[in-house]
Symmetry: C2
Subunit: 443 residues, 2 copies
C-alpha cells in the first residue's frame, strides 16, 4: 500500500527503506530543499556518534558499510583537565569497541541516496506540513517560496519530522494524548578546531571532553581532519560572554589547551546560534480513524538530549522495531502502530539515561573517583563472566534499553553482595587471627 512519511531526515529515510523492502510505495514530504543539492547546515547540529543499535539497523538494509566508511571510530573518551592534562578512558574493557563520529548532513545524504534508489520511494522536497486532519487523512503543505498549498490524502501517515514535529502537533490537540516537553536550562553552541598543517590537532580516535562541573565542551573528529566542538553551557554563561575580550579570556582560563587550537573562536562564538536541549514525550504515538492511521517515530515520538549519543541510534532502532511489528501483524498498519506503543518503555529509559549522563560527562568524568570506578568496572568485566557495563550494553549491543536497565540493576546487586561477602570474609579472617571469635574447630 502507499505510506506517507512526513520528514526525510535520518529516520524518515531509513524507515522508507524498510517499508519499500516490504513492497510498499512510500512518499516522503520534506520541508527543506534537497540537501544533496545544497551546502550543509553548519553550526546547527551536533555530530552524531553511531553505535551498535544504529549499525544493526543499517546492516539489515546493507547500508552499514557505506556509512561506516564515512565515519571515524572513537574508542574512548579523552578528558581534558583545566591545566591541559589529558586522560584517555576506553569505552570497553577490551578497548576494541568504538562509537563512530559522522556529520548529520553527510549521513542524511547517504540515506536519501539509499531511499531514492529503491523502487517505489519518492521524496517531495520544499513541502512544509501546515495541516493534517485525522478524520479525513488529508494533509496540507506550504510549497517552498510560494503561497501555494499542496494537498494530499493518505491512509497511513508517519510523522518522522523531528522534535518539533508538525504531525505530533496535531496529535497533541486530540483529547487523551499526553505530552511533555522539558527543556534544560542549558544551551549548546558549535565551535571548530580546524586541521593543523593538514593533520588532526588532537587524537581523532577519541571523543574529547572538557568537563567543567556545571558546564562542558565536547569535540568529535571529522573526515576533513577538523573537530566539531560543542559547548553545553548554562544559558546565563553563554549570554555573559558578550565581547571578544570576554570570550578569549574565558576560554584561555577554562579551556586552555583548546583555546590555542581555535583561531576563529570569536567569530564562531558570535556567529553561531544557541541551540536548546529538550526531552519530549508523547502517549499514545498513534491515532486511528476510519479514514487514516497516523503514527510517530524517532525524535517526533521521543526527542532526547544528546548526552548518551543515542538519539539517532534510538530512532534507527524504532525502524527495526516497527518493521518487526509489521511482521507480527502482516502489514496491518493500525495494528502495527498499536503494537509499536510497547517501545515507549524502552525510549523512556534512554531518555532518562541521556539526562543522567549529562551530569556524568560534565562533572564526574573528570574526577579521580569516577576514573577509579571505571577501572574497577573494567576489571570486573574481565574477571566476572557476563558482567558488562551499562555504557557498553547501551552502545555496543542491541539489548533493549529496558533489559539493559534490569541487567545493570542485577549486576550491581551481585557486585554489592560480592563486596559484602568479601568484607565479611576479611573481617572473619581478621577476627580469627585476633582470637576474638571461637570457631567450631577452635571451640
Amino acid at each position: 500500500m502507499e505510506i506517507t512519511i512526513v520528514g526525510a531526515g535520518l529516520v524518515g529515510c531509513l524507515l522508507a527503506c524498510f517499508l519499500a523492502r516490504r513492497g510498499h510505495r512510500v512518499v516522503l514530504y520534506e520541508r527543506r530543499q534537497d540537501p544533496r543539492e545544497q551546502g550543509a547546515d553548519r553550526g546547527r547540529s551536533i555530530n552524531l556518534a553511531i553505535s551498535e543499535r544504529g549499525i544493526d539497523a543499517l546492516r539489515r538494509l546493507g547500508l552499514d558499510g557505506g556509512v561506516l566508511d564515512a565515519a571515524l571510530p572513537m574508542a574512548g573518551r579523552m578528558m581534558h583537565a583545566p591545566d591541559g592534562a589529558r586522560t584517555f578512558q576506553p569505552y570497553s574493557a577490551d578497548r576494541a569497541q568504538a562509537i563512530n563520529s559522522i556529520g548529520r548532513a553527510e549521513l542524511n545524504r547517504e540515506l536519501l541516496n539509499a531511499a531514492t534508489s529503491l523502487h517505489g520511494v519518492e521524496v517531495r522536497f520544499g513541502r512544509r506540513l501546515t495541516a493534517v486532519d485525522e478524520r479525513s487523512g488529508r494533509l496540507e503543505f506550504a510549497a517552498d517560496g510560494s503561497q501555494d498549498v499542496v494537498a494530499d490524502k493518505a491512509q497511513v501517515i508517519i510523522g518522522a519530522d523531528g522534535a518539533y514535529s508538525a504531525v505530533r502537533a496535531r496529535l497533541q490537540q486530540l483529547p487523551g494524548v499526553s505530552f511533555s516537553q522539558d527543556y534544560l536550562d542549558y544551551g549548546y553552541k558549535e565551535l571548530s578546531i580546524p586541521a593543523r598543517h593538514g593533520r588532526f590537532a588532537m587524537d581523532p580516535g577519541a571523543l574529547h571532553i572538557w568537563p567543567r562541573g556545571r558546564s562542558m565542551m565536547i569535540a568529535l573528529p571529522n573526515p576533513d581532519r577538523s573537530f566539531t566542538c560543542t559547548l553545553f553551557w548554562p544559558h546565563d554563561t553563554l549570554a555573559a560572554l558578550d565581547t571578544p575580550g570576554k570570550i578569549r579570556a574565558y576560554f584561555a582560563e577554562h579551556y586552555r589547551d583548546a583555546f590555542g587550537l581555535m583561531p576563529d573562536l570569536v567569530g564562531a562564538y558570535q556567529g553561531n546560534p544557541v541551540g536548546h536541549l529538550v526531552t519530549m514525550r508523547c502517549s499514545p504515538w498513534h491515532v486511528t480513524t476510519e479514514a487514516t492511521t497516523i503514527g510517530l517515530v524517532g525524535d517526533a515520538a521521543h526527542a532526547i538530549v544528546p548526552f548518551y549519543g543515542q538519539g539517532a541510534n534510538c530512532g534507527f532502532e524504532d525502524c527495526v522495531e516497527l518493521d518487526r511489528c509489521l511482521d507480527e501483524v502482516g502489514d496491518d498498519f493500525p495494528r502495527a502502530l498499536e503494537l509499536f506503543e510497547r517501545r515507549r518503555a524502552d525510549t523512556d529509559v534512554i531518555a532518562g539515561l541521556a539526562l543522567e549522563n549529562f551530569v556524568e560527562m560534565r562533572d564526574r568524568v573528570g574526577s579521580r573517583m569516577f576514573l577509579a570506578g571505571k577501572r574497577v568496572e573494567h576489571a570486573l568485566e574481565r574477571v566476572l563472566p557476563g558482567y558488562v557495563s551499562r555504557y557498553e550494553l547501551i552502545s555496543f549491543s542491541s539489548t533493549p534499553y529496558t533489559e539493559v536497565q534490569r541487567r545493570v540493576a542485577r549486576q550491581r546487586r551481585w557486585a554489592a553482595a560480592g563486596a559484602g561477602a568479601a568484607l565479611l570474609a576479611a573481617l572473619g579472617y581478621a577476627a580469627r587471627r585476633r582470637g576474638l571469635v571461637r570457631t567450631r574447630d577452635g571451640g
Copy 2:
C-alpha cells in the same frame, strides 16, 4: 496602564476586578457570546465547590456575600454503598465548616457583572484568539460568525483562557518553555437527579459520593433542588454501556439508590458528552520582550483534575497572589509576572494532591479503615492543639499549599512519634507488671 486579558471566564473576570481596583484599564476578550444573554452550557461542566481560598479572594473585593447567597453549603461527604447504605462524614472536626456548591455558569455571570460594573473594564465577546506575537504584542482574533479578523496590540497580555489556552499555545512554541499535559484514562459525564415533589431527593447539605473502586459518581446540590451528578469512569466502561438496556442494568446493579432517582438516566447518558481529565504544567508562565509581556493565570497556567475541589479556588488565589506581586514591585508587570513564578511550587502541590484524592474518593472513602482513620484524625484535632487535617488546611484555610504539605508531614511525624512513645510506655508498663525490667526504684 491598559491590560489585555484573554478569557472572561471565572479567573479572567476576577483578575479584571483586582486590576481595575489598582487603577488599570482592562480589556477582556472572550471566545463565547455573553453568557448573561444565553442559556447555560449544560452537560459540560462540573459544579464547583467554592471553599476558603476562593471566598478569601472574593472577600477582598466584597463579592463573597453575593456568591455565597447563590451557593449551597456542603458540610461533609455522604457515602453511598452499593447496597444503598449511607454514611455521613463531616469535613471538619467541629462539623461547622462547609464547601459551597455553585454552578460554573452562575458564578461566571456574577463575576461578569462585578467586572463590567467597574470603571475601566470592557469585555469584547465573540472574539477567538487566533494569533499572538510576543515580538510585537500583536493579537489577532476571529470574530464570531464572520471571516473578519480583529487585531489589537497590547503591552501586557494575560492568558486566563483555560486549560486549552490559546495564549499558552504560543508560549509553548518558544524555546525554553517546558510544558506537559497528562490525561487520565478516565472520562467524566454529567447526569442529573431532579427535585422530587418540589424537594431535594437527597440531603442537600452534603457532597454525595458513590465510591466503586475503579470508578465513582458524585452529586452536588443546585438551588433548583436538583443534583448535578458526575460519573468518573474509565473510558472503556463509559463506552461499554451502548444500549438503554445496558445503561439501566448497570446503574440498577452498581448505583441502586441513585438509579431510582434518575428518570432521564438513559437520555442524559446518551446525550451528554464525555469530558476528559487533564493535568497541565507550564514553566515559565511568562515571557517578556521589548514590546510586551505575556503571562498566564488559572487553568491556562496549571490545569488540575477536579478531585480536591480546588481548580477554581486555586485560580482565584492566583489573582490574590498576582495582586500581591504587583504590590511588591509597584505595578511593574514584567517584574510582577517574574515574581509570580514562585507560585508554581504551590500549584504543583495541589495538582499532585488532586490526582491523589481521586484514588481516595473512588476507592478508600468507602472502606472501614478510611472511616476509622478519619475518626482518629478528628479525635486528634480535638485533643492536640494545632493539629488540623490536610483536607481542612486545603479547604478551610488560605495557608499556602506548600506550607500545608510541610505542616501535614510534620504532624504525621509527631503523631507517629506520639504513637511510638505511647507504645513504649505501654510496653514498659506491661514489662514492669511482669517484673521483667528492674526500674531504678525497684532495683
